[in-house]
Amino acid sequence: MLEKLTIIGGNDKEGNPENVKLFEIDAGMVFAIVGPTGSGKTQLISDIEQFIDDSETISGRSILINNHPASEFNFNKSLRYLIAEVSQNMNFVIDITVENFLLMHTKVREIENQKEIIDEALKITNELAGEPVYFSDNLTKLSGGQSRALMVADAAVISKAPILLIDEIENAGINRLKALEILKKQGKIILVITHDPTLLLMADKRIVMKNGGMNKLHITSTEEKELLKSLVNFEEKISNIRDYIRNGGIIKEKNFDI
C-alpha cells in the first residue's frame, strides 16, 4: 500500500539546486502543482510517473515510495498502475456500453464483487455529473463532463491506482469539490495541475514551479480556505445562471445577484 511519496529536489533548468530540497505527500492528501507555462510542471509529473533514480532524470530529482527508492519498485507488477490520470484531453474511445466496459475493467483488475463495484461506480458518476449516466449509455456518446465523472468514479473504486493525477479539469458538467472529497476518502494521493484558482485552493498544499525548479512549498492557509468558500459560492452562482439560460430562461431584471 502506498502511504507516502517523497520527492527529493534536484536542479532547475540552469542547473542551480532547487529551492525545495524535499517534500512529502501522504495518502489522502491533495497536492497542487502551479506555475506559468514552461515552468516545469509537466517535467515534475513526468519524474514522478517514471519514478526513476537520480542518475537518470534530467532534473536530478529522485522519488521515494514509503521511504524506499522508487527504482526498487520498477519491476514490481503490483506497482505498474501506480498513477491514474484524469485530464481534459482524455476520452473514451471504445465503442461499448458503460456497463460492459466497467465489467471488463473489474475483470482486468480481478475484482470479485463485480456487480456491487460497478453499481458503486455508476452511483459516484451520477453524484459528480451534471446529467444522468445510465449503464446502457454508450461510452463514446458521453458528454465531456459525464466522461470525466466516470473517469473519476472508475479511478476511485475500480482502478485502485494509489496516485491520481488531475490535469486541468474544467468545471462544466462535473462537481470537482465533491470529486476530490470522494478520492480523498479512498486514501489516494491526489496531484492536481491547474491554473484555476478554485481547484488550486482545494489542495492542502501547493508547490510553485519556476524556471524548471520547485521554487516554493506552501500550505493552504486559513485565509485561502475562506476565499475558496467564496469562490465555490461564486461558481455555483455562475452555474445556476448557465442552467437557467440553457433551459430557456431569459434574464429580465436583476434576478441573479453576482
Partner: protein, 231 residues
C-alpha cells in the same frame, strides 16, 4: 554492436518513440545508426537525420517489405558497422500482421497504440506475441481505465514482454526504453541467426507481376477462402 529491430502497427509512433529514445542514448556518447525499411516512400529518414546520426533507407518497391528486409539484414549490419555504430536501430515497414521481423539475439520492440481497438492485439499476431519489449503509445488521449484494459489484453497475448508506455509527442517514458536497450547484449554477427517467426510463403502469379483478376490467371501457391468456416 547491439542490434535493435522495431516493428509495429501503422502510425503507432515507431519513429517518434525511437527518435526520443535515441536522443537519450546519444547523451551517453554512444554511437547509433538508424535504418528504415519501407515500401514505396518514407520521410522517416529525415526525422532520424535530425539527430545527426547516420541514416539509411531501404525501399522494397515491388517486393514484400518483410522479405526484402530479411534479404538485406547482413548488408544493413555491415553498413552500420562501417559507421562505427554501437547500436543499430532497424525500423521496419509495419504493414501486414502476418509477419514478425524479429531475429534471435536482436532486441525486438513492438510499438502499438491505444487507439487500435481493444480486440486488435489479438489480430496483431507474431509481431506482438514474439516481441521482447512492447511499447504502447497514445495513452495521453484515452481514459486511464481503457489504458489498463488495453494493457491487459496485450499481456494476454504476450506475457513475457516488458511493457512500456511512451508518449510519442513528448517522449515521456522513453528513458526506460533507452535503459532496456543499453542493458541488451551485443551481437557478433547477424549471419546464421534465426528468424523468430517464419515469413509468409509466396510465389503465386501475382508475386510475379500478374495484374488480372480471375482463376485462369492464377498459378503457383494459391489458397482459396473456406466459406464453410463457422465461428
Amino acid at each position: 554492436m547491439r542490434f535493435i529491430v522495431v516493428a509495429g502497427t501503422p502510425s503507432s509512433g515507431k519513429t517518434s518513440v525511437m527518435y526520443y529514445t535515441i536522443s537519450h542514448i546519444l547523451k551517453n556518447n554512444v554511437k547509433v545508426a538508424a535504418c528504415k525499411i519501407d515500401c514505396l516512400e518514407t520521410s522517416d529518414d529525415e526525422r532520424y537525420g535530425k539527430l545527426g546520426i547516420p541514416v539509411a533507407v531501404g525501399l522494397s518497391d515491388y517486393l514484400c517489405p518483410d522479405h526484402f528486409y530479411v534479404a538485406n539484414l547482413e548488408e544493413i549490419e555491415t553498413w552500420a558497422k562501417n559507421q562505427n555504430a554501437d547500436i543499430l536501430v532497424l525500423e521496419t515497414a509495419g504493414l501486414c500482421h502476418r509477419c514478425a521481423p524479429y531475429v534471435n539475439d536482436c532486441l525486438s520492440i513492438c510499438v502499438i497504440d491505444n487507439l487500435i481497438g481493444i480486440d486488435t492485439p489479438k489480430k496483431v499476431g507474431p509481431m506482438l506475441s514474439t516481441a521482447d519489449i512492447i511499447v504502447i503509445t497514445k495513452g495521453e488521449i484515452v481514459s486511464h481505465a481503457e489504458r489498463e484494459v488495453f494493457r491487459h489484453k496485450v499481456e494476454m497475448i504476450n506475457s513475457k514482454a516488458r511493457i512500456l508506455e511512451i508518449n510519442g509527442l513528448t517522449g515521456q517514458g522513453s528513458l526506460k526504453l533507452k535503459n532496456e536497450i543499453m542493458k541488451y547484449k551485443e551481437l557478433d554477427t547477424i549471419s546464421g541467426k534465426e528468424l523468430k517467426y517464419s515469413m509468409p510463403a509466396s510465389i503465386c502469379s501475382y508475386c510475379a507481376g500478374e495484374t488480372i483478376v480471375g482463376s485462369q490467371y492464377q498459378m503457383g501457391n494459391v489458397k482459396k477462402v473456406d466459406f464453410g468456416r463457422q465461428k
